[in-house]
């Protein structure tokens, strides 16, 4: 993909993301942030391709570390977000 297009994707996604996230109430800002944390683990895609095509043992090892850390980021982020969101509930519905 051409560099220009990639930069364009970056700009568009940033602007669209900003507009959508603006609607999230401050009530949910902590889960929003941990969810974003999980998403930032998307860098695992880059780590996967770079590692798969790496030749040297050294760079492969670096790549493996990157994969593990990025996956901790993804899995930990999503787990904690869902755990948190499940705590938000109506008392009325819950107790009676």
């Amino acid at each position: 993909m051409s560099p220009l297009l990639l930069i364009l994707i970056f700009i568009v996604s940033t602007v669209v993301g900003y507009m959508i996230i603006k609607n999230v109430p401050s009530l949910l800002h902590t889960p929003l942030m941990s969810g974003m944390n999980a998403l930032s683990g998307i860098t695992v895609l880059g780590a996967l391709t770079a590692t798969a095509f790496a030749l040297g043992t050294g760079s492969k090892i670096l790549g493996y570390i990157a994969i593990v850390l990025a996956m901790i980021n993804v899995a930990g982020g999503f787990t904690v977000t869902s755990k948190m969101l499940k705590m938000f509930k109506h008392k009325e519905v819950d107790n009676k």
């Binding site: 560099p3 990639l6 994707i9 970056f10 568009v12 996604s13 940033t14 669209v16 993301g17 900003y18 996230i21 401050s26 009530l27 949910l28 800002h29 902590t30 889960p31 929003l32 942030m33 941990s34 974003m36 944390n37 998403l39 930032s40 683990g41 998307i42 860098t43 895609l45 880059g46 780590a47 996967l48 391709t49 770079a50 590692t51 798969a52 095509f53 790496a54 040297g56 050294g58 760079s59 990157a66 994969i67 850390l69 996956m71 901790i72 980021n73 993804v74 899995a75 930990g76 982020g77 999503f78 787990t79 755990k83 948190m84 969101l85 705590m87 938000f88 008392k91 009325e92 819950d94």
Partner: protein, 466 residues
């Protein structure tokens, strides 16, 4: 898989993520939204493995599984009070993963598309620097929040210079790559060392109370690092999702800055608000309590006020969380409601140590989220409120923010607690808050101060209702 199909699926998955996030604007749909994002992420990984034809590489699966298992176990163990440092740690992991992926690309440039080599290497070195800055910055932030290192701003000799030079050298490492690929090895080293150093230098001088802003900023950086690493690895999906994360972090940073009345630059340059505070204000406040009627009178008075209050607003602050009093506060709210009071919680945007932290802590204590009201929403209701109960909050209820020009908090949006008919303040002591401005509320006639551990004072309030 054809390129067109790949790009189409990338677009689809990005839209899925956006839908998932937009579902987080309503509590009822948020769990599903998070699930949708999870599915999209799994889809993204699968798509990448298929498109690059590396789905059969076993080692990749093994290391993904290791990370996955560790992440899930960790996620289940986390306590809600620890969320700020957990988010900081996760930001750091994302950052260093991006930096490592970028390093792998820079170590073996011959494996890359030679037509776009310059773009790939420059973006890779940029991702490396941003990723490393995010990593070390997040580690310091997490350390401060976990109290492993001092929460106070640490300022070195010539701090400004040191920070500046490390930043310039980090940028230089990127420029060197653009000049000639033979500089690659040295650029990698400079990027790691100087970027890492810069991350430490800029977070070490941020004070504990400015952490919500710092974490938001690091959150943004982790997304940006991922996005740039996506450019280097030519993956549009990583670019898009990284960009979304970057935008989210930036938005939260702005919100936090506005509600704390701080400029981002001041925080990064290590200017603490407390520097401007006038001396001697703290002393006066201590005379207030002793001057009032005898202890017993206050107690019986307060008990009748609490019992007769029909409209009550509770204002929780970080002091409540520190005292671990949220479950008692939940009990107090139950007792008040059983007593016939209409009750809400007023949540200031910066209550807690990260955006929205207080809401999570109260939700964990089984308080219905509909009672958790935002500042702008609840402020008009204070004049009709019989009783406001403040638990461990100071600066965010300080009416001086509206009137005392020249103080650090002047202009900061606060909760209009002073408009309530009666106010109970359960704070640990009479010291001014982080901003160092004396709180005139403490001297008002309709205010009852209950000093000490919030666990004890809240319990006393509950007992009064029995």
């Amino acid at each position: 898989m054809s390129d067109i199909l790949f790009y189409l699926l990338c677009g689809l998955l990005s839209v899925l993520v956006l839908v998932g996030i937009s579902m987080m604007s309503k509590v009822e749909k948020a769990v599903k939204g998070n699930f949708l994002s999870t599915i999209a992420m799994a889809g993204a990984i699968l798509l990448t493995l298929v498109y690059y034809d590396i789905i059969s590489v076993t080692s990749l699966w093994i290391f993904m599984a290791i990370g996955l298992i560790l992440g899930v176990i960790w996620g289940f163990k986390i306590k809600m009070i620890e969320m700020p440092q957990v988010v900081a740690l996760l930001n750091g992991f994302g950052g260093i993963a991006s930096a490592l992926a970028a390093t792998v690309i820079m170590i073996e440039p011959e494996q890359q598309n030679q037509d776009q080599l310059m773009f790939i290497l420059v973006t890779a070195s940029l991702a490396l620097v941003v990723g490393v800055v995010t990593f070390t910055g997040s580690m310091i932030a997490a350390g401060k929040l976990q109290k492993v290192i001092s929460q106070k701003p640490v300022i070195w000799k010539n701090h400004q210079w040191i920070t500046g030079i490390s930043l310039v050298l980090s940028i230089l490492s990127i420029v060197m790559v653009a000049i000639d690929t033979k500089f690659l090895p040295i650029s990698i080293i400079i990027g790691w060392v100087m970027g890492g150093f810069f991350g430490v230098a800029f977070t070490i001088r941020v004070g504990g109370a400015d952490m919500p802003i710092t974490i938001s900023l690091l959150n943004s950086l982790s997304g940006v690092a991922g996005s740039i690493a996506g450019m280097a690895s030519n993956n549009p999906l990583t670019v898009a999702i990284g960009g979304i994360v970057g935008a989210s972090g930036l938005l939260l940073t702005q919100i936090m800055c506005r509600s704390m009345n701080r400029h981002l630059l001041d925080i990064l340059l290590g200017k603490t608000t407390s520097t401007g505070h006038s001396k001697g204000v703290a002393v006066e406040a201590s005379t207030v309590v002793t001057a009032s009627d005898s202890e017993e009178d206050i107690v019986s008075d307060l008990a009748s006020i609490i019992k007769s209050a029909k409209r009550v607003i509770i204002v929780p602050g970080y002091g409540m969380a520190l005292a671990q009093a949220q479950h008692l506060v939940s009990q107090l709210s139950d007792s008040l409601e059983q007593n016939g009071a209409l009750l809400d919680f007023a949540i200031h945007p910066v209550a807690g140590r990260m955006p929205g932290h207080m809401n999570v802590l109260l939700a964990e204590a089984n308080i219905s989220y509909e009672k958790l009201r935002e500042m702008d929403d609840i402020n008009p209701e204070f004049p009709n409120c019989d009783l406001a109960i403040v638990i461990g909050a100071n600066d965010v209820i300080n009416p001086a923010a509206n009137t005392a020009e020249g103080t650090p908090i002047y202009g900061m949006p606060v909760l209009d607690v002073d408009k309530a008919k009666h106010i109970v303040i359960c704070n640990f002591d009479l010291k001014p808050g982080y901003a160092g401005v004396d709180n005139p509320l403490y001297k008002m006639r309709n205010v009852t101060m209950k000093l000490g551990d919030a666990k004890d004072t809240v319990k006393e309030l509950i007992d009064m209702l029995r």
